[in-house]
Amino acid sequence: MGNQRTAIAGEPVVRISTLAPRQKFPGALARNAPAYLFLLPWFIGFFGLTLGPALVSLFLSFTDYNLLQPPHLVGLDNYARIATGDDKFISSMKVTLFYVICSVPLKLVFALAVALLLNRGIKGLPVYRAIFYLPSLLGSSVAIAVLWRQLFDSDGVVNTILWQFGIEGPSWISNPNYSLYTLIVLAIWQFGSPMIIFLAGLRQIPIDMYEAASLDGASKTRIFFKITLPLLTPVIFFNAVVQTIDAFKAFTPAYVISSGTGGPIDSTLFYTLYLYQEGFGYFRMGYAAALAWILVIIIAVFTAFSFLSARYWVHYDE
């Protein structure tokens, strides 16, 4: 069996598939079998590694499970405990919210500023782009978090430089007043990814718009606030949503810098770190799963709110 070619006068040649499996399976499935075959890796990945574990974690969130004994159902107990009697839930959520609120806007402003500089037609742009993007590639790695420790430790590079100017710097990481800020600086330093997207967005703005504005006598500041920024709002929106979700999920820097404790005095206890401690420190997998689902809900609510607000401030061209 194979392919058969038929031609009608004046019509293009039509290839009709007469594959053998068509005899065994229902028509549509047989016809699309090659497509499903190509999709198989994605199906395995999605169902086996994403949806499956997500549903299992949802189930576990209604159980008491310590990995050694089979989970047993406890209904909404985990959620009730989180809502009523878990101080660490509140404090870790506060730390995370503070981190999100500070790091995301600052990172976006920094990324946009660098993108604007790079968008001025400078020579060697691809090299600069790669250099600025590098921290984003390395930023979430353990190595960078370790490097950050070296920079901000009491006898680290930052304090050594400050000392040259006669300033005795604090121990940034071990002082609860400053430790979270070092993580925020680390987050801002990873501005490469939104910067690349901003740069692409800036290049999408037609040069005619700027020329029309310059003929009108608009200053660079007016052009930036009246033309560039509004036309960039779809990109700002995208970056804001993605970076906020990423910030809510931030884990590695806090884990490495605080050696997994979230200290000093829970000042770097991110929500995900607390979740990790509950699951893999105390083996309260059911409780950790409930914490994870609450984070999912918080991110979903934030994202929904973002999309609702977008209609008032995001300008789509067409």
């Binding site: 504005a213 003929l215 009246k226 509004p230």
Partner: protein
């Protein structure tokens, strides 16, 4: 308020590459000048140099006698309509029109007066609260023109403003821009690659090719007396026919040309050219007739016929494979494959020398 535009030896270079090569041009106050030429001829670059959007590498630009080379675009008293319209998508039509005036710090009441006046002229008053995405191509074009009008500039510049419109709308907008010019009386410079637009709108056409001016003149001057083969081929639609020939003799104001195996006589002297010189004979498709009415130039075989209603266009081949386009008035019962005898009116023919210049 009409302004004189004067270009003296204007040059534009990108590195070593010269795209505008010493342009000398005078545009009188209130004139509608059209820059026309093929893609890459430098017409848009020249317009942008006048606007102040491109630096002038050499020569001088004067507006009303004042040198403008170093004057920023915003201070030249110029408004420009872009091919892409360049409307700000996040602003309403009103805001788009008002942007330049707000930038200039004008009073709100004056802004409102000017915007409403421009909207009235362009019949877009009902669109003032809409965003550009809610407008059709023609409406967007009107807003773009309105943005220029509200500034009450000395000179209007148009950079292929009708390129993105469909054929019907182009004709309509063409008429409206011409009317606008009549009403406002400003100096307008219009760039197009469409010679029909140039012929129908211009007081003065500037034909550009490879960064140089080929000819400047009134539309019918360019049509009737093209100075070279390039202008002759560019102005007029369908394009002028060119047939290679050889000069036979010239005396007493008469010139004979060997053409396609026969000799035809033209009632004109040809200056310095001499017998035996290679020449190009030019005849516009609309000046060729079927039958033996004037000077017969031979038999042609019709390859293709286009019936346009008001005109019948024949694409034919002469002996030796020379192609010939013939535009006949009205609806002619001609079919592909027929052989026809074609004639020309010697008074309306053109001769070009080996260098392409008219003889």
């Amino acid at each position: 308020m009409a302004t004189n535009v004067s270009l003296q030896k204007v040059v534009k270079r990108y590195g070593e590459h010269e795209v505008i090569r010493g342009i000398d041009l005078e545009i009188d106050p209130g004139e509608f000048a059209v820059f026309v030429g093929p893609s890459g001829c430098g017409k848009s670059t020249l317009l942008r140099m006048i606007a102040g959007l491109e630096l002038i590498s050499g020569g001088s630009l004067f507006l009303d006698g004042e040198r403008m080379n170093e004057v920023p675009a915003a201070r030249r008293g110029i408004a420009m309509v872009f091919q892409s319209y360049a409307l700000y998508p996040h602003m309403t039509v009103y805001k788009n029109l008002a942007f330049g005036l707000e930038t200039a710090g004008m009073k709100k009441s004056e802004i409102a007066r000017r915007v409403e006046h421009a909207a009235e002229i362009l019949q877009i008053s009902q669109l003032l609260n809409r965003r550009p995405k809610a407008l059709s191509g023609g409406q967007r074009q009107r807003v773009a023109i309105g943005r220029a009008i509200v500034r009450e500039p000395k000179i209007f510049l148009f950079d292929e403003p009708l390129s993105n419109l469909d054929a019907e709308l182009r004709v309509q907008m063409r008429v409206e821009i011409s009317k606008l010019h009549q009403n406002l009386g400003n100096t307008m410079i219009y760039v197009t690659h469409d010679q029909v637009e140039a012929m129908t709108m211009a007081d003065k056409i500037v034909v550009l090719n490879s960064g140089r001016i080929e000819q400047v003149g009134a539309p019918l001057d360019l049509y009737n007396k093209p100075v070279n083969k390039f202008v002759a081929g560019f102005i007029g639609s369908p394009k002028m026919n060119f047939i290679e020939g050889e000069l036979a003799r010239s005396n007493d104001g008469m010139t004979s040309v060997h053409l396609n195996g026969q000799t035809i006589s033209l009632p004109r002297p040809i200056g310095a050219a001499k017998a035996g010189d290679r020449v190009t004979f030019g005849a516009r498709p609309e000046h060729i007739t079927v039958g033996e009415h004037g000077t017969t130039i031979g038999d042609t075989r019709v390859d293709l016929v286009e019936h346009l209603g008001g005109q019948t266009i024949l694409y034919a081949s002469m002996k030796g494979g020379q192609s010939l386009t013939v535009a006949l008035d009205g609806q002619q019962p001609v079919r592909a494959g027929e052989t026809l005898t074609v004639s020309i009116d010697p008074q309306r023919c053109h001769l070009f020398g080996p260098d392409g210049n008219a003889l």
